[in-house]
Protein backbone atom coordinates (compact mmCIF):
# COMPACT_ATOMS: atom_id res chain seq x y z
CA UNK A 1 0.00 0.00 0.00
CA UNK A 2 1.26 3.44 -0.92
CA UNK A 3 0.17 6.67 0.64
CA UNK A 4 0.91 10.22 -0.49
CA UNK A 5 0.19 12.65 2.33
CA UNK A 6 -0.11 16.38 1.49
CA UNK A 7 2.65 16.14 -1.10
CA UNK A 8 3.77 19.31 -2.88
CA UNK A 9 6.53 19.72 -5.43
CA UNK A 10 7.94 23.03 -6.59
CA UNK A 11 10.55 23.80 -9.20
CA UNK A 12 12.43 27.00 -9.86
CA UNK A 13 11.15 28.34 -13.17
CA UNK A 14 12.86 31.51 -14.41
CA UNK A 15 13.47 32.76 -10.90
CA UNK A 16 9.99 32.08 -9.57
CA UNK A 17 8.74 29.00 -7.80
CA UNK A 18 6.37 26.96 -9.90
CA UNK A 19 4.19 24.46 -8.13
CA UNK A 20 3.84 21.25 -10.15
CA UNK A 21 2.09 19.22 -7.42
CA UNK A 22 -0.08 20.95 -4.84
CA UNK A 23 -1.05 19.44 -1.50
CA UNK A 24 -1.73 16.06 -3.03
CA UNK A 25 -3.01 13.13 -0.95
CA UNK A 26 -3.81 9.66 -2.25
CA UNK A 27 -3.88 6.07 -1.03
CA UNK A 28 -3.18 3.19 -3.40
CA UNK A 29 -4.39 0.05 -1.63
CA UNK A 30 -3.08 -3.46 -2.19
CA UNK A 31 -4.72 -5.65 -4.81
CA UNK A 32 -5.83 -2.67 -6.89
CA UNK A 33 -4.95 -1.42 -10.33
CA UNK A 34 -5.15 2.38 -10.19
CA UNK A 35 -4.88 4.58 -13.28
CA UNK A 36 -3.95 8.25 -13.00
CA UNK A 37 -5.18 10.37 -15.89
CA UNK A 38 -5.66 14.05 -16.63
CA UNK A 39 -4.58 16.74 -19.07
CA UNK A 40 -1.00 17.06 -20.26
CA UNK A 41 1.16 19.16 -17.97
CA UNK A 42 -1.11 18.41 -15.02
CA UNK A 43 1.64 16.71 -13.00
CA UNK A 44 0.96 13.01 -13.59
CA UNK A 45 4.47 11.98 -14.57
CA UNK A 46 5.89 14.10 -11.75
CA UNK A 47 3.78 12.09 -9.31
CA UNK A 48 5.21 8.86 -10.70
CA UNK A 49 8.76 10.22 -10.35
CA UNK A 50 8.07 11.37 -6.79
CA UNK A 51 6.88 7.86 -5.91
CA UNK A 52 9.98 6.23 -7.43
CA UNK A 53 12.24 8.71 -5.61
CA UNK A 54 13.63 10.32 -8.76
CA UNK A 55 12.24 13.63 -7.45
CA UNK A 56 11.84 14.55 -3.79
CA UNK A 57 8.72 16.40 -2.58
CA UNK A 58 9.23 19.93 -1.30
CA UNK A 59 6.48 19.28 1.24
CA UNK A 60 4.51 16.30 2.51
CA UNK A 61 5.30 12.65 3.05
CA UNK A 62 5.19 9.36 1.19
CA UNK A 63 4.56 6.02 2.95
CA UNK A 64 5.05 2.51 1.62
CA UNK A 65 3.32 -0.17 3.67
CA UNK A 66 3.19 2.25 6.58
CA UNK A 67 6.87 3.21 6.47
CA UNK A 68 7.86 6.80 5.72
CA UNK A 69 10.00 6.66 2.57
CA UNK A 70 10.05 10.41 1.84
CA UNK A 71 13.81 10.69 2.39
CA UNK A 72 14.68 7.27 0.98
CA UNK A 73 16.79 7.02 -2.20
CA UNK A 74 15.69 5.51 -5.50
CA UNK A 75 17.77 2.41 -4.68
CA UNK A 76 16.20 1.99 -1.21
CA UNK A 77 12.70 2.33 -2.63
CA UNK A 78 13.48 -0.20 -5.35
CA UNK A 79 14.73 -2.62 -2.71
CA UNK A 80 11.58 -1.99 -0.66
CA UNK A 81 9.45 -3.09 -3.58
CA UNK A 82 8.75 -0.16 -5.90
CA UNK A 83 9.13 -0.88 -9.62
CA UNK A 84 9.14 1.89 -12.20
CA UNK A 85 8.73 1.75 -15.97
CA UNK A 86 9.99 4.85 -17.75
CA UNK A 87 7.85 6.73 -20.24
CA UNK A 88 10.88 6.85 -22.50
CA UNK A 89 12.95 3.74 -21.78
CA UNK A 90 16.69 4.28 -21.51
CA UNK A 91 19.11 2.83 -24.05
CA UNK A 92 22.45 1.31 -23.06
CA UNK A 93 25.38 0.55 -25.32
CA UNK A 94 26.68 -2.93 -24.65
CA UNK A 95 24.18 -3.95 -21.97
CA UNK A 96 22.10 -6.84 -23.22
CA UNK A 97 18.43 -7.55 -22.60
CA UNK A 98 19.47 -10.53 -20.47
CA UNK A 99 21.68 -8.29 -18.30
CA UNK A 100 18.84 -5.88 -17.58
CA UNK A 101 16.42 -8.66 -16.66
CA UNK A 102 19.06 -10.33 -14.47
CA UNK A 103 19.72 -7.04 -12.67
CA UNK A 104 15.98 -6.53 -12.22
CA UNK A 105 15.56 -9.90 -10.52
CA UNK A 106 18.52 -9.12 -8.26
CA UNK A 107 19.78 -12.71 -8.47
CA UNK A 108 21.56 -15.13 -10.74
CA UNK A 109 18.99 -16.41 -13.17
CA UNK A 110 19.13 -18.76 -16.11
CA UNK A 111 18.50 -17.75 -19.70
CA UNK A 112 15.26 -19.78 -19.53
CA UNK A 113 14.03 -17.74 -16.53
CA UNK A 114 14.80 -14.48 -18.31
CA UNK A 115 13.06 -15.67 -21.45
CA UNK A 116 9.83 -16.15 -19.51
CA UNK A 117 9.63 -12.43 -18.79
CA UNK A 118 10.15 -11.61 -22.45
CA UNK A 119 7.49 -14.09 -23.48
CA UNK A 120 5.14 -12.42 -21.00
CA UNK A 121 5.43 -9.14 -22.92
CA UNK A 122 4.96 -10.84 -26.26
CA UNK A 123 8.56 -10.86 -27.45
CA UNK A 124 10.11 -13.95 -28.96
CA UNK A 125 12.77 -14.49 -26.31
CA UNK A 126 15.27 -16.19 -28.59
CA UNK A 127 15.39 -13.15 -30.86
CA UNK A 128 15.86 -10.63 -28.08
CA UNK A 129 17.64 -12.10 -25.07
CA UNK A 130 21.13 -11.40 -26.46
CA UNK A 131 20.30 -8.10 -28.12
CA UNK A 132 21.89 -4.93 -26.84
CA UNK A 133 19.46 -2.45 -25.31
CA UNK A 134 20.60 0.16 -27.80
CA UNK A 135 19.30 2.22 -30.69
CA UNK A 136 18.82 -0.90 -32.83
CA UNK A 137 15.60 -1.62 -30.91
CA UNK A 138 12.38 0.09 -31.94
CA UNK A 139 10.35 2.20 -29.51
CA UNK A 140 7.77 -0.58 -29.14
CA UNK A 141 10.43 -3.24 -28.49
CA UNK A 142 12.14 -1.06 -25.90
CA UNK A 143 8.87 -0.39 -24.18
CA UNK A 144 8.08 -4.06 -23.88
CA UNK A 145 11.57 -4.81 -22.56
CA UNK A 146 11.10 -1.99 -20.04
CA UNK A 147 7.89 -3.62 -18.85
CA UNK A 148 9.62 -7.03 -18.73
CA UNK A 149 12.21 -5.55 -16.33
CA UNK A 150 9.42 -4.39 -14.03
CA UNK A 151 7.76 -7.82 -14.18
CA UNK A 152 11.10 -9.48 -13.41
CA UNK A 153 11.52 -7.26 -10.37
CA UNK A 154 8.25 -8.60 -8.91
CA UNK A 155 7.48 -5.28 -7.18
CA UNK A 156 4.87 -4.78 -4.49
CA UNK A 157 4.02 -1.52 -6.26
CA UNK A 158 4.55 -1.32 -10.02
CA UNK A 159 4.44 2.18 -11.50
CA UNK A 160 4.10 2.61 -15.28
CA UNK A 161 4.53 6.09 -16.72
CA UNK A 162 2.48 6.35 -19.94
CA UNK A 163 3.20 2.83 -21.13
CA UNK A 164 1.31 3.49 -24.38
CA UNK A 165 3.52 6.43 -25.40
CA UNK A 166 5.58 5.75 -28.49
CA UNK A 167 4.28 2.30 -29.32
CA UNK A 168 2.40 1.04 -32.34
CA UNK A 169 -1.17 -0.18 -32.28
CA UNK A 170 -0.26 -3.86 -32.41
CA UNK A 171 2.03 -3.52 -29.41
CA UNK A 172 -0.68 -1.55 -27.65
CA UNK A 173 -3.11 -4.47 -27.94
CA UNK A 174 -0.43 -6.68 -26.46
CA UNK A 175 0.21 -4.19 -23.69
CA UNK A 176 -3.40 -4.27 -22.55
CA UNK A 177 -3.15 -8.06 -22.33
CA UNK A 178 0.03 -7.76 -20.25
CA UNK A 179 -1.71 -5.42 -17.80
CA UNK A 180 -4.76 -7.65 -17.65
CA UNK A 181 -2.46 -10.55 -16.82
CA UNK A 182 -0.72 -8.52 -14.11
CA UNK A 183 -4.11 -7.55 -12.69
CA UNK A 184 -5.11 -11.22 -12.44
CA UNK A 185 -1.88 -12.13 -10.62
CA UNK A 186 -1.83 -9.04 -8.41
CA UNK A 187 -1.63 -10.91 -5.04
CA UNK A 188 -0.91 -8.40 -2.27
CA UNK A 189 0.71 -5.95 -4.62
CA UNK A 190 -0.63 -2.94 -6.47
CA UNK A 191 -0.28 -1.40 -9.90
CA UNK A 192 -0.25 2.29 -10.77
CA UNK A 193 -0.48 3.33 -14.41
CA UNK A 194 -0.23 6.86 -15.75
CA UNK A 195 -2.29 6.87 -18.94
CA UNK A 196 -4.73 8.71 -21.20
CA UNK A 197 -5.91 5.62 -22.98
CA UNK A 198 -9.55 4.72 -22.59
CA UNK A 199 -8.76 1.03 -22.87
CA UNK A 200 -6.31 1.22 -19.99
CA UNK A 201 -8.81 3.27 -17.96
CA UNK A 202 -11.30 0.48 -18.66
CA UNK A 203 -9.25 -2.13 -16.80
CA UNK A 204 -8.74 0.13 -13.74
CA UNK A 205 -10.20 -0.69 -10.34
CA UNK A 206 -9.93 2.98 -9.59
CA UNK A 207 -9.33 6.11 -11.67
CA UNK A 208 -7.66 9.24 -10.32
CA UNK A 209 -7.87 12.50 -12.26
CA UNK A 210 -5.01 14.97 -11.77
CA UNK A 211 -5.38 18.51 -13.03
CA UNK A 212 -3.10 21.50 -12.31
CA UNK A 213 -1.19 19.40 -9.80
CA UNK A 214 -4.26 18.67 -7.74
CA UNK A 215 -6.51 15.69 -7.25
CA UNK A 216 -9.53 16.62 -9.39
CA UNK A 217 -11.57 13.44 -9.08
CA UNK A 218 -11.28 9.80 -8.05
CA UNK A 219 -13.54 6.78 -8.06
CA UNK A 220 -14.42 3.63 -9.93
CA UNK A 221 -14.49 3.77 -13.69
CA UNK A 222 -18.28 3.85 -13.60
CA UNK A 223 -18.11 6.97 -11.44
CA UNK A 224 -15.32 8.81 -13.21
CA UNK A 225 -15.38 7.73 -16.87
CA UNK A 226 -18.55 9.59 -17.95
CA UNK A 227 -16.98 12.95 -17.13
CA UNK A 228 -13.76 12.04 -18.97
CA UNK A 229 -15.08 10.66 -22.26
CA UNK A 230 -14.41 12.95 -25.14
CA UNK A 231 -11.63 14.82 -23.29
CA UNK A 232 -7.88 14.41 -23.61
CA UNK A 233 -7.92 12.40 -20.36
CA UNK A 234 -9.60 9.43 -22.06
CA UNK A 235 -8.48 9.03 -25.64
CA UNK A 236 -10.40 6.27 -27.42
CA UNK A 237 -8.46 3.58 -29.23
CA UNK A 238 -9.74 4.54 -32.70
CA UNK A 239 -8.24 7.99 -32.44
CA UNK A 240 -4.91 6.35 -31.93
CA UNK A 241 -5.38 4.51 -35.22
CA UNK A 242 -5.77 7.81 -36.99
CA UNK A 243 -2.65 9.15 -35.35
CA UNK A 244 -0.69 6.13 -36.46
CA UNK A 245 -1.93 6.38 -40.03
CA UNK A 246 -1.98 10.03 -40.73
CA UNK A 247 -0.36 11.76 -37.82
CA UNK A 248 -3.50 13.82 -37.37
CA UNK A 249 -5.74 13.93 -34.34
Amino acid sequence: MLELRNVSFQVDSEGTDKEIIRDFSLVIPDNKLVVITGPNGGGKSTLARLIAGIEKPTEGQIFLNGEDITERSITDRAKMGIGFAFQQPVRFKGIQVFDLIRLATGQKISMADACEYLAAVGLCARDYINREVNASLSGGELKRIEIATVLAKKPSLAVFDEPEAGIDLWSFQNLIEVFEGMRRDIRDSSILIISHQERILNIADEIVVVRDGRLAARGTKEEVMPSLLGTSSAVPGCRMTETVKGGAK
Binding site: T75, F92, D99, L103, A104
Partner: protein, 310 residues
Protein backbone atom coordinates in the same frame (compact mmCIF):
# COMPACT_ATOMS: atom_id res chain seq x y z
CA UNK B 1 54.78 -31.90 -23.94
CA UNK B 2 57.03 -28.93 -23.42
CA UNK B 3 57.54 -27.93 -19.81
CA UNK B 4 57.19 -24.27 -18.96
CA UNK B 5 58.39 -23.03 -15.56
CA UNK B 6 56.43 -20.05 -14.28
CA UNK B 7 55.82 -18.68 -10.82
CA UNK B 8 52.37 -17.78 -9.47
CA UNK B 9 52.52 -14.10 -10.50
CA UNK B 10 53.53 -15.05 -14.01
CA UNK B 11 50.70 -17.57 -14.19
CA UNK B 12 48.24 -14.92 -13.04
CA UNK B 13 49.47 -12.50 -15.73
CA UNK B 14 49.09 -15.25 -18.33
CA UNK B 15 45.50 -15.80 -17.27
CA UNK B 16 44.79 -12.08 -17.55
CA UNK B 17 46.31 -11.50 -20.97
CA UNK B 18 45.71 -14.79 -22.76
CA UNK B 19 43.07 -16.68 -20.74
CA UNK B 20 45.71 -19.36 -20.42
CA UNK B 21 45.56 -21.75 -17.48
CA UNK B 22 48.21 -24.15 -18.76
CA UNK B 23 50.45 -24.60 -21.77
CA UNK B 24 48.30 -23.79 -24.80
CA UNK B 25 47.37 -26.15 -27.59
CA UNK B 26 49.08 -25.62 -30.90
CA UNK B 27 51.95 -23.28 -31.61
CA UNK B 28 53.14 -20.98 -28.86
CA UNK B 29 55.97 -18.97 -27.44
CA UNK B 30 55.89 -17.67 -23.89
CA UNK B 31 58.28 -14.83 -23.24
CA UNK B 32 59.08 -14.19 -19.61
CA UNK B 33 61.34 -11.43 -18.30
CA UNK B 34 63.18 -10.95 -21.57
CA UNK B 35 63.71 -14.59 -22.60
CA UNK B 36 61.68 -17.45 -24.01
CA UNK B 37 60.24 -19.71 -21.30
CA UNK B 38 58.85 -22.23 -23.75
CA UNK B 39 58.20 -22.58 -27.45
CA UNK B 40 56.44 -25.04 -29.71
CA UNK B 41 55.97 -25.15 -33.47
CA UNK B 42 53.46 -27.35 -35.27
CA UNK B 43 53.37 -29.02 -38.68
CA UNK B 44 51.83 -25.91 -40.25
CA UNK B 45 53.13 -23.15 -38.01
CA UNK B 46 56.81 -22.49 -37.56
CA UNK B 47 58.00 -20.22 -34.77
CA UNK B 48 61.60 -19.19 -35.36
CA UNK B 49 63.43 -16.98 -32.84
CA UNK B 50 65.38 -14.04 -34.16
CA UNK B 51 69.09 -14.60 -33.66
CA UNK B 52 69.42 -11.63 -31.32
CA UNK B 53 66.71 -13.07 -29.06
CA UNK B 54 64.59 -9.98 -29.53
CA UNK B 55 61.56 -11.56 -31.15
CA UNK B 56 60.11 -14.14 -33.43
CA UNK B 57 59.31 -14.98 -36.98
CA UNK B 58 56.05 -16.89 -37.25
CA UNK B 59 55.43 -18.63 -40.56
CA UNK B 60 52.01 -20.07 -41.24
CA UNK B 61 51.71 -22.38 -44.25
CA UNK B 62 49.18 -21.57 -46.97
CA UNK B 63 45.80 -23.18 -46.40
CA UNK B 64 46.31 -23.73 -42.64
CA UNK B 65 42.84 -23.74 -41.09
CA UNK B 66 41.52 -23.41 -37.55
CA UNK B 67 44.91 -23.31 -35.87
CA UNK B 68 46.10 -20.86 -33.27
CA UNK B 69 49.30 -19.20 -32.17
CA UNK B 70 49.79 -17.94 -28.63
CA UNK B 71 52.64 -15.52 -27.97
CA UNK B 72 52.06 -13.99 -24.53
CA UNK B 73 54.64 -11.89 -22.72
CA UNK B 74 54.92 -11.59 -18.95
CA UNK B 75 57.24 -9.31 -17.02
CA UNK B 76 57.68 -9.41 -13.27
CA UNK B 77 61.09 -7.76 -12.81
CA UNK B 78 61.23 -4.07 -12.11
CA UNK B 79 63.40 -1.91 -14.35
CA UNK B 80 63.22 -4.23 -17.35
CA UNK B 81 62.88 -2.51 -20.72
CA UNK B 82 62.69 -4.31 -24.02
CA UNK B 83 61.75 -3.88 -27.66
CA UNK B 84 60.57 -7.07 -29.33
CA UNK B 85 59.96 -7.64 -33.03
CA UNK B 86 57.50 -10.30 -34.10
CA UNK B 87 56.81 -10.90 -37.79
CA UNK B 88 53.89 -13.01 -38.93
CA UNK B 89 53.72 -14.46 -42.41
CA UNK B 90 50.25 -15.86 -43.03
CA UNK B 91 50.09 -17.98 -46.17
CA UNK B 92 47.43 -17.72 -48.85
CA UNK B 93 44.02 -19.04 -47.89
CA UNK B 94 44.96 -19.71 -44.25
CA UNK B 95 42.49 -19.04 -41.44
CA UNK B 96 44.17 -18.69 -38.06
CA UNK B 97 43.90 -17.01 -34.66
CA UNK B 98 46.84 -15.27 -33.05
CA UNK B 99 46.66 -14.42 -29.36
CA UNK B 100 49.24 -11.97 -28.10
CA UNK B 101 49.20 -9.88 -24.98
CA UNK B 102 51.46 -8.52 -22.34
CA UNK B 103 51.15 -8.53 -18.59
CA UNK B 104 53.47 -6.49 -16.40
CA UNK B 105 53.65 -6.85 -12.65
CA UNK B 106 55.92 -4.17 -11.26
CA UNK B 107 56.41 -4.12 -7.52
CA UNK B 108 59.64 -2.16 -7.65
CA UNK B 109 60.72 1.46 -7.96
CA UNK B 110 61.91 1.37 -11.58
CA UNK B 111 59.84 1.56 -14.74
CA UNK B 112 59.12 -1.64 -16.67
CA UNK B 113 58.57 -1.31 -20.39
CA UNK B 114 57.68 -3.68 -23.20
CA UNK B 115 57.42 -2.38 -26.74
CA UNK B 116 56.11 -5.06 -29.07
CA UNK B 117 56.46 -4.38 -32.77
CA UNK B 118 54.21 -6.73 -34.68
CA UNK B 119 54.15 -7.02 -38.46
CA UNK B 120 51.51 -9.04 -40.24
CA UNK B 121 51.92 -10.11 -43.85
CA UNK B 122 48.57 -11.66 -44.73
CA UNK B 123 48.50 -13.54 -48.03
CA UNK B 124 45.76 -13.57 -50.65
CA UNK B 125 42.41 -14.73 -49.31
CA UNK B 126 43.87 -15.48 -45.87
CA UNK B 127 42.12 -14.58 -42.67
CA UNK B 128 43.66 -13.77 -39.34
CA UNK B 129 42.00 -13.01 -36.05
CA UNK B 130 44.34 -11.22 -33.71
CA UNK B 131 43.64 -10.75 -30.02
CA UNK B 132 45.87 -8.58 -27.88
CA UNK B 133 45.32 -7.86 -24.21
CA UNK B 134 47.36 -5.62 -21.99
CA UNK B 135 47.33 -5.77 -18.25
CA UNK B 136 49.34 -4.23 -15.46
CA UNK B 137 49.51 -4.91 -11.74
CA UNK B 138 51.85 -4.44 -8.82
CA UNK B 139 52.24 -1.88 -6.07
CA UNK B 140 55.65 -0.44 -6.92
CA UNK B 141 56.24 3.19 -7.81
CA UNK B 142 57.82 2.16 -11.12
CA UNK B 143 55.58 2.70 -14.11
CA UNK B 144 54.21 -0.07 -16.31
CA UNK B 145 54.71 1.02 -19.88
CA UNK B 146 53.55 -0.63 -23.11
CA UNK B 147 54.11 0.88 -26.54
CA UNK B 148 52.84 -1.54 -29.14
CA UNK B 149 53.46 -0.94 -32.83
CA UNK B 150 51.43 -2.93 -35.30
CA UNK B 151 51.82 -3.02 -39.05
CA UNK B 152 49.34 -4.92 -41.18
CA UNK B 153 49.80 -5.71 -44.86
CA UNK B 154 46.73 -7.28 -46.43
CA UNK B 155 46.99 -8.77 -49.90
CA UNK B 156 43.97 -9.18 -52.16
CA UNK B 157 40.85 -10.37 -50.33
CA UNK B 158 42.77 -10.92 -47.11
CA UNK B 159 40.98 -10.26 -43.83
CA UNK B 160 42.35 -9.12 -40.48
CA UNK B 161 40.14 -8.85 -37.42
CA UNK B 162 41.94 -7.26 -34.52
CA UNK B 163 40.76 -7.01 -30.96
CA UNK B 164 42.91 -4.86 -28.69
CA UNK B 165 42.04 -4.63 -25.04
CA UNK B 166 43.63 -2.68 -22.22
CA UNK B 167 41.39 -2.42 -19.20
CA UNK B 168 43.63 -2.12 -16.19
CA UNK B 169 46.93 -1.18 -14.73
CA UNK B 170 49.02 0.10 -17.64
CA UNK B 171 50.42 3.53 -16.76
CA UNK B 172 51.55 4.70 -20.14
CA UNK B 173 50.71 3.49 -23.63
CA UNK B 174 51.40 4.77 -27.06
CA UNK B 175 49.86 2.45 -29.59
CA UNK B 176 50.47 2.89 -33.29
CA UNK B 177 48.72 0.75 -35.87
CA UNK B 178 49.21 1.11 -39.60
CA UNK B 179 47.62 -0.94 -42.36
CA UNK B 180 47.87 -1.25 -46.13
CA UNK B 181 44.93 -2.88 -47.87
CA UNK B 182 44.94 -4.32 -51.38
CA UNK B 183 41.79 -4.88 -53.45
CA UNK B 184 38.98 -6.65 -51.62
CA UNK B 185 40.89 -6.73 -48.34
CA UNK B 186 39.09 -6.11 -45.09
CA UNK B 187 40.36 -4.74 -41.78
CA UNK B 188 38.23 -4.76 -38.66
CA UNK B 189 39.56 -3.24 -35.44
CA UNK B 190 37.81 -3.32 -32.08
CA UNK B 191 39.69 -1.45 -29.41
CA UNK B 192 38.60 -1.31 -25.78
CA UNK B 193 40.40 0.86 -23.34
CA UNK B 194 40.01 2.00 -19.78
CA UNK B 195 42.40 4.32 -18.02
CA UNK B 196 42.45 5.40 -14.41
CA UNK B 197 44.66 7.18 -11.90
CA UNK B 198 47.26 9.28 -13.68
CA UNK B 199 47.44 7.01 -16.71
CA UNK B 200 47.98 8.17 -20.25
CA UNK B 201 47.02 6.29 -23.41
CA UNK B 202 47.49 7.30 -27.00
CA UNK B 203 46.12 5.27 -29.85
CA UNK B 204 46.95 6.10 -33.45
CA UNK B 205 45.74 4.43 -36.61
CA UNK B 206 46.66 5.09 -40.20
CA UNK B 207 44.86 2.84 -42.68
CA UNK B 208 45.54 3.04 -46.41
CA UNK B 209 42.94 1.43 -48.64
CA UNK B 210 44.80 1.01 -51.90
CA UNK B 211 42.64 -1.40 -53.90
CA UNK B 212 39.06 -1.38 -55.11
CA UNK B 213 36.63 -3.04 -52.74
CA UNK B 214 38.86 -2.65 -49.69
CA UNK B 215 37.01 -1.97 -46.44
CA UNK B 216 38.13 -0.81 -43.02
CA UNK B 217 36.15 -0.53 -39.81
CA UNK B 218 38.03 0.90 -36.83
CA UNK B 219 35.99 1.22 -33.65
CA UNK B 220 37.28 2.30 -30.27
CA UNK B 221 35.31 2.27 -27.05
CA UNK B 222 37.00 3.80 -24.09
CA UNK B 223 36.51 5.02 -20.55
CA UNK B 224 38.76 7.63 -18.90
CA UNK B 225 38.45 7.82 -15.12
CA UNK B 226 40.18 9.75 -12.33
CA UNK B 227 42.88 12.05 -13.79
CA UNK B 228 43.71 9.92 -16.80
CA UNK B 229 44.18 11.17 -20.33
CA UNK B 230 43.51 9.52 -23.69
CA UNK B 231 44.03 10.46 -27.27
CA UNK B 232 42.44 8.63 -30.17
CA UNK B 233 43.79 9.53 -33.55
CA UNK B 234 42.45 7.52 -36.48
CA UNK B 235 43.16 8.36 -40.08
CA UNK B 236 41.58 6.49 -42.99
CA UNK B 237 42.99 7.08 -46.42
CA UNK B 238 40.92 6.00 -49.42
CA UNK B 239 43.08 5.62 -52.53
CA UNK B 240 40.58 3.48 -54.50
CA UNK B 241 36.88 2.61 -54.67
CA UNK B 242 36.75 1.58 -51.05
CA UNK B 243 34.72 2.11 -47.91
CA UNK B 244 35.95 3.04 -44.47
CA UNK B 245 34.37 3.74 -41.10
CA UNK B 246 35.98 4.90 -37.90
CA UNK B 247 34.29 5.43 -34.58
CA UNK B 248 35.41 6.67 -31.21
CA UNK B 249 32.86 6.27 -28.47
CA UNK B 250 34.00 7.39 -25.05
CA UNK B 251 32.84 7.88 -21.50
CA UNK B 252 34.60 10.38 -19.29
CA UNK B 253 34.37 10.31 -15.52
CA UNK B 254 35.89 12.31 -12.64
CA UNK B 255 38.64 14.48 -14.16
CA UNK B 256 39.29 12.19 -17.11
CA UNK B 257 40.19 13.83 -20.42
CA UNK B 258 39.87 12.51 -23.96
CA UNK B 259 40.93 13.99 -27.26
CA UNK B 260 39.47 12.33 -30.37
CA UNK B 261 40.99 13.29 -33.70
CA UNK B 262 39.29 11.42 -36.48
CA UNK B 263 40.79 11.99 -39.91
CA UNK B 264 39.56 11.04 -43.36
CA UNK B 265 41.42 11.45 -46.60
CA UNK B 266 39.72 10.54 -49.88
CA UNK B 267 41.98 10.43 -52.93
CA UNK B 268 39.50 8.68 -55.18
CA UNK B 269 36.02 9.81 -56.14
CA UNK B 270 34.62 6.39 -55.26
CA UNK B 271 36.08 6.30 -51.77
CA UNK B 272 33.31 6.40 -49.15
CA UNK B 273 34.61 7.34 -45.72
CA UNK B 274 32.71 7.97 -42.50
CA UNK B 275 33.81 8.92 -39.03
CA UNK B 276 31.85 9.15 -35.82
CA UNK B 277 33.09 10.42 -32.49
CA UNK B 278 31.17 10.86 -29.27
CA UNK B 279 32.50 11.71 -25.83
CA UNK B 280 30.38 12.28 -22.77
CA UNK B 281 29.71 11.30 -19.22
CA UNK B 282 27.33 8.47 -18.33
CA UNK B 283 23.77 9.63 -19.00
CA UNK B 284 21.89 10.38 -15.78
CA UNK B 285 18.87 8.43 -17.03
CA UNK B 286 20.96 5.29 -17.38
CA UNK B 287 22.05 5.48 -13.76
CA UNK B 288 18.50 6.25 -12.59
CA UNK B 289 17.07 3.30 -14.53
CA UNK B 290 19.48 0.86 -12.90
CA UNK B 291 18.84 2.44 -9.48
CA UNK B 292 15.11 1.76 -9.95
CA UNK B 293 16.13 -1.90 -10.33
CA UNK B 294 17.77 -1.74 -6.88
CA UNK B 295 21.39 -0.95 -7.74
CA UNK B 296 23.32 1.75 -5.89
CA UNK B 297 24.68 4.64 -7.94
CA UNK B 298 28.16 3.09 -7.87
CA UNK B 299 26.90 -0.35 -8.86
CA UNK B 300 24.93 1.23 -11.70
CA UNK B 301 28.06 2.99 -13.00
CA UNK B 302 30.02 -0.27 -12.90
CA UNK B 303 27.34 -2.14 -14.83
CA UNK B 304 27.15 0.61 -17.45
CA UNK B 305 30.94 0.62 -17.94
CA UNK B 306 31.18 -3.17 -17.98
CA UNK B 307 28.52 -3.30 -20.67
CA UNK B 308 30.11 -0.50 -22.64
CA UNK B 309 33.50 -2.22 -22.69
CA UNK B 310 32.16 -5.74 -23.16
Amino acid sequence: MIKVQLDEIQKRLLREVADLHSVPEGAFNIRSNGASAGRQSTANIDIIPRPAGDGLEVRIKPGTKNESVHIPVVMTKTGLSEVVYNDFYIGEGADVTIVAGCGIDNCGPKDSEHDGIHRFYVGKGAKVKYVEKHYGSGTGTGKRILNPGTEVYLEENAVAEMEMVQIKGVDDTERTTTAELAAGARLVVRERLMTHGQQRAISKYVVHMNGDGATADVVSRSVARDDSHQKFDAVLVGNAACSGHTECDSIIMDNGRILAVPGLEANNVDAALVHEAAIGKIAGDQIIKLMTLGLTEQEAEEQIINGFLK
